[in-house]
Amino acid sequence: MNSIDPVIWFFLFGLLAGALKSELRLPSQVYDFVSMLLLLTIGLKGGVELANQPFSVLLPQIVVIVIAGFLLPFIAFPALRYLGKFTRADSASIAAHYGSVSVGTFAVAVAYMNSRNIIFEEHMALFVVLLEIPAILVGIILAKGVSKKTQWSNVAHEVMLGKGVMFLVGGLLIGWLSGPSGVESISPLFFGLFKGVLALFLLEMGLITSTQLSSLKRYGFFLLAFGVITPLCFAIFGTLIGTGLGLSVGGSAILATLFASASYIAVPAAMRISVPEANPTLSLTASLGITFPFNILIGIPLYYWLANYVYTTLALH
């Protein structure tokens, strides 16, 4: 029960193999395949559930989540700029990473709840999409101001039509249109293999993370502290919002995980193009090298404990 999930062992094994400089590697197209399956599966699961949610329940959730998505980078930015002494571009870029979300972390949280039979709102995949995008826009504005020179149509294209968002949205739509009985025929591939596919994904994430860890010492203590404290703060924020929105304990814990997670796919790609003067190693070291392992190893159980604590305290059970 309380033992470590095998998918986490895959991550740790990847970390170890990377640290040992082994020749272990997921072929790049296999990694793309595995990511794609993960995104589609998460989308499909969410979409099927979405059909069961009345719009009157969804609308307030959507509004609150999107507002939160715009707010989070504004909280992170001053810490980076004034405490961390980073350049404006770097501060903006890192803030965008932490304001956005990590789908891999979400998948681990879902697996965590499933393996403990904890109920949560399955349509939360929608929140992943809603939280992914606003932080990118805020990050660009923080870096450049609302400059006329920013090619917003390019940015929108890059952000909305990137692989990550498209696969998630596609899965959501298809799940929503097909309904539970419709997706049954495709469930052996998408739902049956989910945990196995997640294991392979985390193996590669471990390998990638270990290459990021090596650049950690270059950036020193502040980045390490930032990569641990920010998720904790954001998780508290997320738990409170989840409680306020009337989510279940599991749902609040997952929302906390989403707030606590930092993007390492959509945002880095967007920032590389839109804020090229920001150093990509810096933000990836923080989000992949620190926050991702922190969240999946320590964060998720902690956020679940936190959600439980809040619900018990407020006698909401």
């Binding site: 790049s28 990638i208 290459t211 880095p268 193009i273 090229p276």
Partner: protein
Amino acid sequence: MKNQTTKLITIFTEAALESQLVRDIDRLGAPGYTITNARGRGDRGLRGASWEANANIRVEIICSPTMAATISQYLQETYYDNYAMVTFSNEIDVLRPEKFTS
């Protein structure tokens, strides 16, 4: 048959730049381009292609010396400060050189 001398520009850079670079090349009026996937190391460290943020591409453009100069200058001004990028050129003998006069 002595073929007219033409330039080949080769660019090593980040895979993340591909779509933007292709738009640039088209806009500047180059007659074509060829791209392959690559990995490597340079001043900006190891780019081992283990994942997309870390992969390189290798772009080749056959064009006139004038176009070669235009492209080189554009790349230097636009990308050299912030991106891992190396550009070089050499002279080549091309079949049907009239295709590559721009």
